[in-house]
Symmetry: C2
Subunit: 414 residues, 2 copies
């Protein structure tokens, strides 16, 4: 094996970690000892503040104060409060973000609302490589509103946008490849054609800052259990541009989106603003955990976050290049402008490679058919983690550990 260039060695990695202005943030998480966790793009690590807060919500607010907590602990405004915190991370007004339901349900609400704002137009444009749920939900919306589902290619989404498009719904960072789309450019093209845009920020928010206000993005939906560390299955956020809120007409018009829910009126009258995106009673336990979790982002400079993320992915890619010399294909774009916060490696035995790494306590994940994904959550992943992960990967490849018979049968969840 050739000697590792000096600028890639572990001491340099440690020095870079010491120089990282966000280095203290890692202490805000409860990370398992001895594990390199590169799967924060699937499930974020546990922020230290969460267990205590959840205990308080359960034993004091629910157990002791019971129903009074809707007022005294302000449970009723949790979706708004959590939305405001996420607004801060998104760089938008906290008034424009709502958090209540799963990503799939949130996509349905916003997609229908968007299409209703462009009556007469016939198509929803969606990329073929989208995360599946976006496609399934868009198909359902198209069916219910009698629209066409038009697939585009992520290499050139603009080509599919014309005067017939009601909505262009795209993923900012591709879940499989880690490729980042040109959000301002596509948004401009969609607006030029008179269409609205919805950006899926599931693989961006919390690791890849996005300017929504400058390009005038209409809608955004994103996960809170990935880089936002809200906990397994925590509810998604929805952003709606202020200019669209007055006419926002969403289909899951439950009582919590009513202007006066406790007046129990027979007819539905939506409340002003994004609060009309509410449907049922808010999921208090999940929102309470999420509110506590978001504390780790307080005071984080988005530019520093992005710099930390790029430094980690650069280092990972360079180590893979140098130490594995093409044994695994780096799928993720090398240009910063086209890269999210994950690196995907292609190999026919990707599933076994991920399992063998897991046995070595390096956690990435597998995406069918042949991709090993590694996510770099910039608030808790270090350059030393990156060095160690690649070290294990080199060993896995050298010993062909991925061929072990126990990896022939796949887990239910890959």
């Amino acid at each position: 094996m050739p000697a590792l260039p000096a600028h890639l060695d572990r001491d340099v990695a440690l020095a870079r970690d010491r120089a990282n202005p966000l280095r203290d943030r890692r202490d805000l998480f409860l990370l398992p000892e001895g594990t390199v966790y590169l799967d924060g793009n699937s499930l974020g690590a546990l922020p230290r503040a969460v267990p205590e807060r959840l205990q308080e919500t359960v034993t004091a607010e629910w157990g002791r104060d019971l129903i009074s907590s809707w007022n005294t602990a302000d449970w009723i405004n949790l979706p708004r409060r959590v939305g405001a915190r996420i607004g801060g991370i998104l760089g938008v007004s906290g008034e424009d973000v709502w958090v209540s339901d799963s990503t799939s349900v949130s996509l349905f609400k916003t997609m229908v609302a968007a299409c209703r704002l462009r009556p007469g137009r016939r198509a929803i444009v969606l990329e073929r490589a989208t995360f599946p749920t976006d496609g399934y939900i868009a198909a359902s919306v198209a069916r219910m509103l009698d629209l066409e589902l038009r697939w585009c290619d992520s290499a050139d989404p603009v080509a599919a946008i014309d005067e017939d498009a009601a909505l262009v719904s795209l993923t900012h960072v591709d879940f499989r490849t880690g490729e980042m789309l040109d959000l301002p450019g596509v948004t401009r093209a969609a607006h030029d054609a008179g269409a609205l845009v919805l950006w899926d920020l599931c693989h961006s928010t919390g690791a890849v800052p996005v300017d929504l206000v400058g390009p005038g993005v209409d809608f955004a939906v994103g996960c809170t259990y990935k880089y936002l560390n809200g906990g397994p299955g925590s509810p998604a956020f929805m952003y709606v541009a202020p200019r669209l809120q007055a006419d926002l007409d969403q289909p899951l018009s439950g009582w919590m989106g009513h202007a006066r829910p406790f007046d129990m009126e027979l007819g539905y009258e939506p409340v002003a603003g994004v609060g009309r995106l509410a449907s049922g009673t808010p999921p208090v336990l999940a929102l309470s955990a999420l509110e506590a979790a978001l504390g780790v982002f307080e005071g984080v400079d988005p530019a520093e976050l992005r710099a930390a993320s790029l430094s980690l992915t650069d280092y990972f890619i360079e180590l893979v290049d140098v130490r594995l010399g093409g044994a695994l294909e780096v799928v993720t774009p090398r240009e910063h402008a086209r890269r999210g916060s994950q690196v995907s490696l292609r190999h026919p035995d990707a599933y076994g490679i991920v399992q063998a790494l897991l046995a070595r306590r390096v956690v990435g994940d597998f995406r069918t058919p042949d991709v090993a994904r590694f996510g770099f959550a910039p608030l808790y992943v270090t350059h030393a983690d990156v060095y160690d992960a690649v070290d294990h990967l080199v060993a896995v490849m050298a010993e062909e550990e991925f061929r072990r018979p126990e990896y022939a049968t796949r887990n239910v969840v890959t």
Copy 2:
């Protein structure tokens, strides 16, 4: 004041509590000392098993095992496992129940699915006194499927059912009055007309046993944070009769309802059975709390549950009659066959009465315009609680405590 008849005094209440075969269940809850909690029909009390279980889910499953817990802690099957437990309480097969989203969202899924099973029929029949969200969601479904929303009267819902009805959607126990509808009778009438039925069991399950299988109920949806004690905003359950599952076609077709979610296919193919009611990633924290909470029902005989509930509401009504002599109108039907597990009292100052009771640590709630509601969760409310609550109510009325100026301004959540 006339002497209280001997059979209503507190010693008799205590004796009845001692004779209750479910008397030990109260110890399974963490109830605040010195509070009489008669609002379990709004938010169930905290089961003792929940805090520890949630702590385990957060610190060990999420914090330590991270993404592996989808397999090792079987997070992926939580909706099915929790559904199976609720199936046991409902007296149906655990295979026929799914738990994932709020009541409002669950109503949307099942209402659309039901109407799609009756193509060509034009109306959704719904009672005027329904809980608001049922009406708002039904209106949205009617709009999206181009159907008529037909209001009926709970006194005679059958009169509104004809050959044009696709779906009859009714509430089993009225949230405001506590009146219980004739589920077998209305179901039979709907089926005779060729319509499907959806029963909202929010104010039934966990306190009022219902036979769904005998009458052949098609769909049911119910809350888990009321008498099922799942915690604030815990997800609702959906029941679908087995004969309808193969053709079930619901609109929130997210990736978790796909036959092979981790194959990430472009086209949606629903999984067999009620699992196709899934949309997004399951809310793990809420489901974990709910799973632990449902343990309090293990081995509970539904007949004993109903007997305990009726004994409590009978006693409350009799005490109100005798001690308050008509100062408050008992709105809830006196016939057992028409009564759920709550008693509603009507009074122009109902809001102030509820607030004055709250100050005395007797917790009921107010429903606009003039109803004070008292729920009797049979697993933890005692006859002694009932005696004490009425004792306080007598004092509130005698001193007109409800006129205090601080009750002139209403809380956000009433």
